[in-house]
């Protein structure tokens, strides 16, 4: 079930297996288990088989079918796909078909990937369990009574269930790393600007970043190398070439300094903390030096995030007004139409964040809320910069707990927000971070360890992640 991208690509390119067969196998697993899991908003079975057929034809003709030849990949349903519904799991976008592909979709297509479907998410990527989807939650394939995490829960579940060999998610405050941890797969949030955001439906533009979910670290490196790189159509895209990652995988950790954050906010469950401690031990044993550092601003990350992200969201989501696309609820006049459309189209969590953000930016409150949050963001960058003068990477839990049962946090938004305690700072600083499965915790459920690195420190981050994977006994 946990077949790597690399094995599929080498089999398809050599002609040992057809891309059509690979796609059929994945569609078969979807058919068997998707009704229970609900990882997808849309399965693109016909289009996927057609695309797989093209890949096979290219191989048969002796052509180059690409570095991801025949690999079935699922996309979080907040990435635009030309002519294919893109919903953000929201009623307000139901039926909308983008007239263009996201840059990542173009790059996947150019690399020979087969897009197998659009995955479920918390509405507009706001949430940590996919329970905020307007189309119903996704179940965790490892224990369907539990959440897969979120907001990219569908993408994490699709890989964990073998519905896709890999998937893309988006991470604004932990939305790739937390579900990766809860579903026991690898999830990477790259450096801000490493992957183009063109065609990613914005939640909080200064924090959003697209990244991969895969079965192992090497697959994540391969997929990230494919989608990263400058895009002139995204002004925040990094102009320099993205560093190669594959060469780092066998580097080991000898001579690397791995930081332990002494003043990390408490809150991780003991079973999770045990695995993180074990990860430090494993790295020390493999030759890394463990160094204690402090990051005083870390503890303010969550508060700053819940001002900055809703503030940007309140503006980004203002365009859903019923005038040009998506849902429109008719009413007596324009303002009433806006209100009726937005009340019917947005779920409770999205409405809550729009109100929070609008308030934080309002005249008279800006300095106390949004303005102060920006200052915390700067402090956070300063504190991380100081830490990275002493260490190469940092290690924390990815999620405070293993996958939790449905409904346990939905009544208390603050409890849900705490899921992102350890992941949010990397979004505020724009630094890369990834979650690597490292054994199991309570109830035999997977625990993810988070590796954090400075901007464009992905090569070192992947070297450490690969070492952890080896220490944990290889890929799932």
């Amino acid at each position: 079930m946990s077949e790597t991208i690399r094995s599929i690509v080498s089999a398809v390119r050599s002609g040992a297996r057809s891309a059509v067969d690979v796609t059929r196998e994945h569609l078969g697993r979807i058919e068997a288990r998707e009704p229970e899991i609900h990882a997808f908003n849309l399965v693109l079975d016909d289009a996927a088989l057609e695309r797989a057929g093209e890949i096979d034809a290219t191989v048969a003709a002796g052509g180059d079918a690409g570095p991801l030849a025949g690999v079935p990949i699922a996309l979080k349903d907040n990435m635009c796909t030309r002519g294919v519904p893109t919903t953000c799991s929201s009623r307000i976008l139901e039926g909308w078909r983008p007239p263009y592909d996201a840059t990542v979709v173009e790059r996947l297509a150019a690399a020979g990937a087969v897009i197998i479907g659009k995955t479920n998410l918390d509405e507009f990527a706001m949430g940590s369990s996919t329970e905020n989807s307007a189309f119903g939650p996704t179940k965790n394939p490892l224990d369907p009574s539990r959440v897969p995490g979120g907001s990219s829960g569908g993408s994490a579940a699709a890989v964990a269930a073998g519905f896709a060999a890999a998937s893309l998610g988006s991470d604004t405050g932990g939305s790739i790393r937390q579900p990766a941890a809860l579903c026991g797969v690898v999830g990477v949030k790259p450096t801000y600007g490493a992957v183009s955001r063109l065609g990613l439906v914005a939640f909080a533009s200064s924090l959003d970043q697209i990244g991969p979910f895969t079965n192992d670290v090497a697959d994540a490196a391969l997929l990230l190398e494919t989608i990263a790189g400058h895009d002139p159509a995204d002004s925040t895209s990094i102009p320099e070439p993205f560093p190669a990652l594959m060469p780092s995988l066998d580097r080991g950790v000898v001579g690397l300094r791995v930081g332990r954050i002494a003043d990390l906010p408490a809150g991780a469950d003991p079973d999770v903390q045990n695995r993180v401690d074990a990860a430090f031990e494993a790295l020390a044993k493999a030759g890394a030096e463990i160094v204690d550092v402090t990051i005083p601003a870390f503890t303010y990350g969550l508060t700053a995030y819940y001002l900055i992200a809703p503030a940007e969201a309140s503006s980004n989501l203002a365009r859903y007004d019923g005038v040009r696309f998506g849902l429109r609820v008719p009413a007596a006049d324009t303002n009433a139409m806006y209100a009726a459309t937005r009340s019917a189209g947005f779920g409770a969590e999205v409405r809550r964040r729009i109100m929070l953000g609008t308030y934080a930016l309002s005249a008279g409150y800006y300095d106390a809320y949004y303005g102060k949050a920006l200052k915390v963001r700067r402090l956070m960058s300063d504190d991380f910069a100081a830490a990275y003068s002493q260490v190469d990477v940092l290690l924390t839990p990815a999620s405070p707990s293993v996958a939790f049962p449905f409904g346990t946090k939905t009544a208390d938004p603050l409890a849900m927000y705490l899921c992102d305690t350890y992941t949010i700072p990397s979004n505020l600083t724009g630094h890369p971070a990834m979650s690597v499965p490292f054994g199991t915790g309570a109830d035999g459920l997977p625990v993810g360890v988070q590796v954090l690195a400075p901007a464009l420190g992905e090569p070192t981050m992947f070297a450490v992640a690969a070492e952890l994977e080896r220490a944990a006994g290889g890929a799932r």
Partner: protein, 479 residues
């Protein structure tokens, strides 16, 4: 041309102008769609223009450059700048926010020198995107009471520069001079065609009144002013309205008012209480724009001579004042270079100025007539071989044909050179023919001169130079 001071019931006015100008770029500020006026509705659109989910803005470098030209022409400091979102809901605003500049504009702190010698401070000149255009069906053409609304997004995303003056303007005349001079600069530097009637230049006025020496009063913002002339009328009306309110013991409410060209009044559009809170914050989809010294210097070096400089050069060449109407008009039309070219090839700049102002009104920036042809014509005038009236007739034919030899055209009309002895004998003949008129003229009855000149004109079949005849009559009387 000097601006008259405005006072009413002892009050003075304080006016600041906000001018929005559409930049003459090929494409929009943040996307590749054409920036073109008058196309079929909703043809110059794309995902960015429509604010579709996932679309991202990419800044148009040429728009930045044109905005820098404006800033440099106004003596502003060009600085590194950021974009911000101005949030409000309106159907023709696709993203429900406008990308503008807020706390760090591209251009800051300039000054506009007016032809009358006064100057108006420029607070800032920043880049922003235009909105779409709504048209409302039925009713008054306004949104209230209409049966439905149509939106054209062709204009959405068109680059604008908003030029904000300091509240240095003290009269309707000065406001008009400011708008005209600014317009001339915008056209001269190639930043915009700046047509108020087409909306490519839009002027809003912030008007308040006060007793001299008092602190600033409460201001009202006047919108929908569609010509330089209306600007003066609207400001004058609004200031008088405010004076009347204060004098009646009321107070002025801060509000946005709509100028109605028809009834010549301003009307409340919205009060401060229902004004939007724009919730400005840094635009996260764009990065810092930091024009380096080399770029700024290159833009500055490429700036053409500004209208004020061109007026001074033309005035010097033609013996006029820089704010003389003919000088102002010809520079505004961009025909000053032609006048100087006429002088360059041996013509009379003074006569060329008169002809260009009068005969070339419709001819645009580059009259089709070669400068040498007009030079030849002005030479015939200054040599006394053609009267002003004859020259006009000849010129009309030359302009019509786009060429021509003035000597030949004059000859074809029988405009023969008339030397002064010939004219003297005609004058003598006129006196002999009408001794009564001559006696009255000598007795100081100025009107009698007309009869005498008439005789000469008749005898010369209209070819005599009226001025010369008058001079000869005066000389004979005084001798």
């Amino acid at each position: 041309m000097s601006a008259e001071r405005w006072m009413y019931e002892g009050y003075e006015m304080v006016v600041g102008l906000e001018v929005h100008v559409e930049l003459a770029t090929a494409t929009k500020l943040f996307s590749g769609s054409p920036n073109r006026f008058g196309d079929e509705p909703n043809t110059n659109i794309d995902p960015v223009t429509l604010g579709l989910p996932g679309a991202l803005p990419v800044l148009n470098r040429h728009a930045v450059e044109l905005a820098m030209r404006i800033g440099l022409a106004l003596g502003c400091t060009v600085q590194s700048c950021t974009f911000a979102r101005k949030n409000y809901f309106y159907p023709d605003m696709p993203k429900a926010y406008q990308i503008s500049q807020y706390d760090r504009p591209l251009n800051a702190d300039g000054v506009l020198e007016l032809p009358d010698g006064s100057s108006v401070g420029i607070e800032r000149a920043h880049l922003e995107e235009d909105t779409g255009k709504s048209s409302h069906l039925g009713g008054s053409g306004r949104i209230h009471g209409s049966e439905g609304s149509l939106i054209d997004f062709n204009r959405a995303g068109v680059p604008l520069v908003e030029i904000v003056s300091r509240p240095d303007i003290t009269s309707p005349d000065q406001a008009r001079l400011y708008a005209s001079e600014l317009r001339a600069i915008l056209v001269a530097v190639g930043a915009s065609d700046a047509r108020m009637e087409e909306g490519s230049m839009r002027v809003d006025a912030n008007v308040s009144i006060r007793l001299p020496g008092d602190p600033l009063g409460t201001r009202c913002e006047i919108k929908n002013v569609n010509s330089v002339r209306s600007l003066g009328r609207a400001i004058d009306y609004e200031a008088r309205r405010q004076v009347a309110m204060i004098e009646a013991g009321e107070s002025v409410r801060q509000e946005t008012r709509h100028w109605d060209e028809g009834d010549g009044r301003t009307h409340t559009l919205r009060t401060k209480e229902d004004a939007d809170d724009y919730r400005y914050f840094p635009e996260p989809d764009l990065v810092l724009v930091a024009p380096d010294a080399a770029w700024i210097d290159a833009v500055r070096a490429a700036l053409p001579p500004l209208p004020s400089v061109r007026r001074r050069i033309l005035a010097d060449a033609t013996g006029q004042e820089p704010d003389a109407e003919s000088v102002m008009t010809v520079v505004e039309r961009g025909q000053d270079g032609y006048v100087l070219a006429v002088a360059e090839v041996g013509g009379s700049a003074e006569r060329a100025l008169v002809h260009v102002k009068e005969a070339f009104a419709e001819a645009g920036n580059s009259p089709a007539l070669p400068a040498a042809s007009l030079a030849a014509l002005t030479r015939m005038e200054t040599e006394g071989r053609l009267t002003a009236t004859q020259a006009k007739t000849v010129l009309a034919e030359m302009v019509e044909a786009g060429a021509g030899d003035p000597e030949a055209i004059a000859a074809s009309h029988g405009f023969e050179a008339m030397d002064s002895s010939e004219l003297e004998s005609m004058v003598a003949a006129a006196i002999a023919a009408d001794p009564e008129a001559w006696a009255k003229f000598c007795a100081g009855e100025g009107k009698a001169m007309g009869a005498l000149v008439g005789h000469v004109m008749k005898a010369s079949r209209g070819q005599a130079d009226g001025k010369a005849v008058t001079a000869m009559l005066n000389a004979r009387r005084d001798s």
